[in-house]
């Protein structure tokens, strides 16, 4: 059998990005993927909001099949009365619908600010988190540039950044805006993928992280690849293979082999052992440490910190096959449709989830792929990310059924008659997502992206430099800085850190 110097566990966006980079620098890389195909969470995803431009360029994704259907998709926030709010351009550059004049002005100012603040923080994404230890050898110049840019916004803006950075989304929106649909859409976006509601402390910072992403050079823009997000995952896989990466699907890593207190390879679920001096785990750090490495090879304090790392997912994924195109009271079906009537609706959808229960009226991000590209047999597809869903309810099957019913009721309320069109329906709860994709708790970011788990605290204090706790082990998943999304950023950063360590 061929021998490899590097094994990457997981062919999600980050595993593929890391693998491609390492292989293009001469490493012999084997990627192990548990499922039948590469792409990982791209298969769950709707839209691209933070694809790393370094990754897109270096992996030459365009040459490997990535074509944008849309690079700046509009959002329609659905009103039950047909009075929709349409947000066009990146982060609702223009609003059409029933929005008071003073809200329009206030939103224009707030929007500019949010994008500016996010842009100031954006360079942090592309580097290893700064370390706080003495003489840690931080890239002071780069950090200095970020600080300088923040300061160059002027005293007023700098103060404003300081004021809002650790506040909550509800208060921020409430200070400036009044229109419920607008506030609801923004609150939904801000909390998408998190385990927090708009009123949760520190909910603004994760939103800024989301807004630091870009599509085709436009900050805050949402991209839709032709063929959907799985096509982006497929392009990444093609690029990796073109760089010489060997990809084994249906190959689940069961253990990371540790010998003489360093990494020696991987044991697969079927018992096969594959040897390599370097193992890059691009699945969640928590799973990597607790399940693949195991406490016996780790210090007790680290094991405890890993166990306590928060990884609660709140997003469910609904897939419907419809016999006809639904009518969302005239909304453009090629838009991204949102059900989030107000910021309070978003909060109310989060409340029961705190106690492991299903919300009555979940918020929903809806996409209808067959409105862009016709489906087969005249059937239509509708997918939705529904928030919030409990990650650990008392009874999984009951919760799943209740969540499906709640989603259908929401859809019916916004597209009367849709229920009758349903050919088949499937919903993945956070725990189903964990089972199928391995994201612990079904967590979007493979570990909550919350202030206390960001930067040098991500994934865990002492492990934020992508280097694992055992020689030869590297961490490269969304659970690492700067977090999730189909970005490839953590994987790319990890590969850079490996190069720097050589």
């Amino acid at each position: 059998m061929q021998s490899f110097d590097t094994i990457v566990i997981g062919a999600g966006p980050n595993g593929l990005a890391a693998a491609q980079r390492l292989a293009s620098k001469g490493a012999k890389v084997l990627v192990l993927e548990a499922s039948g195909a590469p792409g990982g969470g791209a298969g769950l995803a709707h839209l691209s909001y933070n694809l790393d431009p370094r990754v897109a360029k270096s992996m030459a994704l365009a040459q490997h099949g990535l074509v944008w259907q849309q690079t700046n998709l509009a959002t329609t926030a659905l009103g039950t009365d047909g009075k929709h709010l349409r947000m066009q351009g990146a982060l609702g550059a223009t609003l059409s619908g029933d929005v008071p004049e003073k809200d329009r002005a206030a939103w224009a100012a707030l929007r500019t600010r949010l994008l500016r603040f996010a842009a100031v923080l954006a360079p942090l994404n592309q580097m290893s988190p700064p370390r706080i230890a003495k003489d840690a050898g931080n890239p002071m110049l780069r950090l200095g540039m970020i600080a300088l840019k923040a300061r160059m916004m002027g005293a007023r803006e700098f103060r404003e950044l300081g004021r809002i950075i650790l506040t909550n989304v509800h208060d921020l929106l409430d200070d400036e805006l009044s229109a419920p649909l607008l506030k609801g859409a923004l609150a939904f976006d801000a909390t998408l993928g998190g385990w927090l509601g708009p009123r949760s402390p520190n909910s603004v910072l994760p939103w800024l992280v989301r807004l630091s992403g870009q599509t085709a050079g436009v900050q805050g823009a949402l991209g839709l690849p032709k063929g959907g997000m799985p096509a982006l995952g497929a392009a990444m896989a093609k690029s990796a293979e073109a760089a010489g990466v060997t990809l084994h699907c249906n190959a689940r890593a069961a253990r990371i082999i540790v010998e003489d207190e360093r990494v020696a390879g991987v044991t697969l679920a079927d018992g096969e052992e594959i040897r390599a001096r370097r193992v890059v785990s691009a699945i969640a750090p928590k799973t990597t440490l607790l399940n693949l490495v195991g406490p016996r090879h780790l210090d007790a304090g680290l094991t405890t910190r890993a166990r306590h790392q928060k990884s609660r997912g709140g997003a469910a994924k609904l897939s419907l096959i419809l016999r006809a195109l639904p009518d969302f009271r005239g909304a453009d079906l090629t838009d991204r449709l949102l059900i989030a009537g107000s910021e309070h609706d978003v909060e109310r959808a989060f409340n029961p989830v705190k106690y492991g229960r299903v919300p009555e009226k979940p918020g929903m991000e809806i996409m209808i792929p067959t409105a862009h590209e016709p489906g087969t047999g005249g059937m239509h597809r509708l997918t939705a990310v529904a928030q919030f869903a409990p990650h650990a309810p008392a009874d999984r099957d009951t919760a799943r059924a209740a969540m499906l019913a709640a989603c259908m009721a929401q859809l019916e309320a916004h597209a009367p008659g849709i229920s009758a069109m349903v050919q088949s329906a499937e919903i993945l709860m956070p725990y189903d997502i964990e089972d199928q994709y391995g994201l612990p708790g079904g967590q979007w970011h493979a570990g909550e992206l919350s202030v206390e788990q960001m930067l040098f605290l991500r994934p865990l204090p002492g492990l934020a430099q992508y280097q694992g706790p055992i020689p030869g082990l590297w961490l490269a998943s969304a659970g690492c800085h700067p977090g999730g999304g189909v970005s490839g950023t953590p994987g790319w950063n990890a590969a850079l850190a490996m190069e720097a360590a050589q």
């Binding site: 406490p295 007790a300 304090g301 680290l302 405890t304 706790p469």
Partner: protein, 394 residues
């Protein structure tokens, strides 16, 4: 007399309290881990003298005890502690220590291998959280059993004879081994261990047998100079033996506030405990690194000129530069020397030109003494009778 309510008498009483209370003529009590413990019963000099010349009992009940059992007990302890638990045979006891991820000492203690898959840890500090957390991923049960066991330390040259007279055949018992005996309708476990550096034993039983055990020992020891001792006498003996006490000689890492006060086993002279070849254990990577770069601090025994105890004194190089601190000191009655344990900067380990600043209180006036200190080997006192098997008939 008014009756005191429980919160007005927060210190617990040990199983031996009815006897220690009756014997405590000075009514000198201290707080050891939340228990009422005697500091001195009657006369400090006589108590120390008994440790070295006859025999003594010391109430060990407040010692924290954990039972560790299950198929993974050995693997668990090897990950938890720095020494190799697998090398400890059933019926054996060893001294060990454990550290956090950064290699900083949490505590030291003794590990008893009660059975293939069952151990007891005896230590100074409470660690249940750390022990339970460390158990994640191991098939092991950890039980705090401090209250379930009454323990008494019997130390001194005549201790073996007293046990013989008391009906316990300990002739074959070697140092760091233990044996079980019947006691009343219960059991008594005797280990040849102790904290005095002398011939001695530690006796472990259930609380309901405690007083009977005490009485049996005192009946047997009447003509062998047996007396109870308090913590003050024990402290002198342990200094002579060169033993470390958590909280006195180092600050345990989990309660230490100042980063520069954290100490590793290498810095406390406990490097010999570390089994570098047994595989991973908590803190190993950090200790490995420290071993490679060398430690900033070291732990030493000192002999100091004069006869005034240097308790808490600062160490100087060339009378000028601070280079360390004395963590425990006494005038040793058996050695007739002024001895001390100290943390000292490693670069001064060679021990030249070391001075200690002693404040001697003489009739309400301090006299400041600058005395020469010499680094010497520990233990200061290490008699052959400690090891002789069968033990001598003194």
């Amino acid at each position: 007399m008014t009756t005191l309510r429980h919160f007005e008498t927060p210190l617990l009483k040990t199983s031996f309290h009815p006897r220690t209370e009756a014997a405590n003529k000075l009514w000198s009590w201290g707080n050891w881990g939340g228990y009422t413990t005697a500091l001195t019963f009657e006369d400090l000099s006589m108590e120390h003298s008994a440790i070295r010349n006859t025999a003594t009992v010391y109430d060990l009940c407040p010692m924290i005890k954990y039972r560790v059992e299950g198929p993974d007990a050995t693997a668990y302890l090897n990950r938890l502690t720095i020494r190799n638990a697998a090398k400890l045979s059933v019926g054996g006891v060893h001294y060990t220590a454990w550290v956090n991820d950064a290699g900083h000492l949490l505590d030291d203690g003794t590990l008893f291998r009660l059975a293939q898959d069952r151990y007891r840890i005896c230590c100074q500090e409470r660690h249940l959280n750390w022990l339970l957390d460390s158990g994640h991923g191991f098939d092991v049960t950890i039980t705090e059993e401090t209250e379930e066991i009454a323990a008494l330390s019997l130390q001194g040259p005549t201790s073996a004879e007293i046990l013989r007279l008391g009906g316990f055949g300990i002739d074959g018992l070697k140092p760091y081994r233990m044996a079980e005996f019947a006691l009343g309708d219960g059991w008594l476990m005797i280990s040849r261990t102790g904290f005095t550096g002398d011939l001695g034993y530690e006796l472990w039983t259930t609380p309901d047998q405690a007083l009977a055990l005490w009485d049996r020992l005192f009946a047997a020891g009447a003509l062998h100079g047996l007396r109870p001792i308090g913590s003050d006498a024990l402290n002198i003996a342990r200094l002579e033996a060169g033993f470390v006490i958590t909280g006195l000689d180092f600050t345990p890492a989990d309660t230490c506030l100042r980063e520069d006060r954290l100490r590793s086993p290498l810095e406390l002279g406990l490097g010999w405990l570390i089994d570098w070849d047994k595989g991973h254990f908590t803190g190993k990577a950090a200790l490995h690194k420290q071993r490679a770069t060398g430690t900033k601090w070291s732990f030493v025994g000192l002999e100091i000129d004069g006869n005034i105890s240097a308790e808490g004194a600062i160490l100087y190089h060339d009378r000028k530069h601070e280079i360390g601190v004395i963590t425990g000191a006494c005038w040793s009655p058996i050695l007739k020397k002024n001895i001390a344990l100290a943390q000292i900067l490693t670069k001064h380990l060679a021990g030249v030109n070391i001075w200690t600043e002693i404040y001697a209180l003489r009739e309400l006036h301090y006299e400041k003494l600058m005395m020469v200190a010499r680094v010497v080997d520990r233990p200061f006192f290490n008699p052959d009778r400690r090891r002789a098997t069968p033990p001598g008939r003194f």
